[in-house]
């Protein structure tokens, strides 16, 4: 699949939501742990060799599942192949929880669901649609009816789920 690699590289240089040096293991069987600078920017997770400016790779964080892996580590897998896991090792349980939380919130889909939820809540309290001021109240992507069953990256009981 062709993609605009230069823009993706530029994105990897943007300020990150979260960045840290972590141990990383690729999904292939028998892969070894490597130190990588891991950087979360919008819905992409970039990973760099610690002394290089260009990322080795990027993961688009949509339709993914972030799971805790003992001890103090986590894994990312994707719905189309749940056994294929990218594994990360943190230096502490606290760092691990921080990353898991951030990665679960990182998807566009999560952001969209939050928007729909807030919109609905504000409408309940004020009787007004807060999206009107932005001129986006009619967009199909923000309608309550568009809420899908929860993706694997979110636990059950996410507020606003249909």
């Amino acid at each position: 699949m062709r993609y605009n690699e230069k823009e993706l590289q530029a994105l990897s240089r943007q300020p990150a939501e979260l960045a840290a040096e972590l141990g990383m293991r690729g999904p292939k069987k028998g892969s070894v742990v490597k130190r990588r600078l891991v950087k979360l920017v919008v819905n992409f997770l970039f990973y760099f060799r610690t002394d290089e400016a260009e990322p080795v790779g990027a993961l688009l964080l949509e339709h993914c599942k972030v799971a805790q892996e003992e001890p103090s580590g986590f894994s990312i897998s994707f719905v189309e192949d749940p056994e294929r896991k990218y594994r990360f090792e943190c230096h502490s349980e606290e760092q691990c929880q921080e990353w898991i939380g951030a990665l679960r919130r990182a998807s566009y889909e999560f952001m969209r669901r939050s928007l729909i939820f807030y919109r609905n809540e504000i409408q309940k309290v004020t009787g007004k649609d807060p999206l009107e001021q932005f001129g986006i109240s009619e967009e199909a992507r923000f309608q309550l009816s568009g809420l899908q069953p929860s993706s694997p990256s979110l636990g059950p009981g996410f507020p606003g789920r249909a």
């Binding site: 699949m1 062709r2 993609y3 605009n4 230069k6 823009e7 993706l8 530029a10 994105l11 300020p15 990150a16 939501e17 979260l18 960045a19 919008v42 819905n43 260009e54 790779g57 990027a58 993961l59 688009l60 339709h63 805790q68 994707f78 719905v79 189309e80 606290e94 929880q97 921080e98 898991i100 939380g101 951030a102 679960r104 919130r105 566009y108 889909e109 952001m111 969209r112 939050s114 928007l115 939820f117 807030y118 809540e121 504000i122 309290v125 004020t126 807060p130 001021q133 932005f134 001129g135 986006i136 967009e139 199909a140 992507r141 568009g146 899908q148 636990g155 009981g157 996410f158 507020p159």
Partner: protein, 243 residues
């Protein structure tokens, strides 16, 4: 750069309805002809397929940091998705009607994650403002996270020497108690919300830099400054085009 292309392709063709889909003409190079392709906008990704029945996308345009402009061209209903930087990339596209042109330009200008995040943050503030200091349901904990006492509303600065509270779990909206917003601050927030531009691609810039509502995302790491540098969605105006 490696990219999880299989996941990307799966995201492109997943069951959920796309944000926008339709035929567009795409120009391969400056002198090349326009080719008709099937385009699918999902989130901040614009996928394109050889035709509507293709199983896999031929390619994807990652839309962060792009601008969307109308272009004067021999081709009718032409527009471009441009990026900043040296040897900047531009995707030259054309719609099949004026309505399609306007729809696509609007959708693409507002597709970035950055834009969506601005809107969500603004709504978080508004919800906190209208809710005021009412008590909220207990915070939901992430699975396996050890239980922690919720910080008391209104207390924004830890006393010196006190241990820093851990980052909050994922903000299930309304899961955390909002801070006490004094009547003055609530009035200012409501006034600011009313002043937001009625139409246009961007919401107002984030409001006062006071203590953030507890509903918002957990404290960011140091690398956050200058998000505006991403150059969010913009659309160039043409007289008569209502966006």
């Amino acid at each position: 750069m490696k990219l999880n292309e299989r996941s990307l392709a799966s995201y492109a063709t997943s069951g959920a309805p796309a944000d926008r889909a339709g035929f567009l003409f795409q120009r391969a190079g400056r002198a090349a002809a326009y080719l008709r392709r099937w385009f699918v906008l999902r989130g901040n990704m614009l996928f394109y397929f050889e035709d509507a029945a293709s199983r896999e996308p031929a390619g994807v345009v990652i839309l962060e940091g792009c601008t969307v402009e109308l272009v004067e061209a021999a081709e009718e209903f032409a527009f471009a998705v441009r990026f900043a930087g040296a040897r900047a990339r531009a995707y030259e596209l054309a719609a099949e009607s004026q309505a399609a042109l306007e729809g696509w330009v609007k959708a693409l200008s507002r597709a970035s994650f950055d834009y969506l995040r601005l809107v969500v943050r603004e709504l978080e503030r508004q919800l906190a403002a209208v809710r005021g200091p009412a008590p909220a349901p207990p915070a939901r904990a992430l699975p396996r996270r050890p239980p922690r006492p919720a910080p008391r509303p209104g207390r924004t600065a830890a006393p010196p020497g006190a241990p820093r509270p851990p980052p909050r779990p994922a903000p299930r909206p309304a899961a955390a108690p909002p801070p006490r917003l004094g009547p003055q601050r609530a009035r200012r927030l409501r006034a600011a919300a009313r002043e937001l531009r009625p139409r246009g691609a961007r919401p107002a810039e984030p409001l006062a830099a006071g203590p953030r509502p507890a509903l918002s995302a957990p404290p960011e790491t140091g690398g956050r400054g200058g998000q505006a540098g991403l150059g969010g969605p913009r659309a160039a105006w043409v007289p008569g085009l209502q966006l």
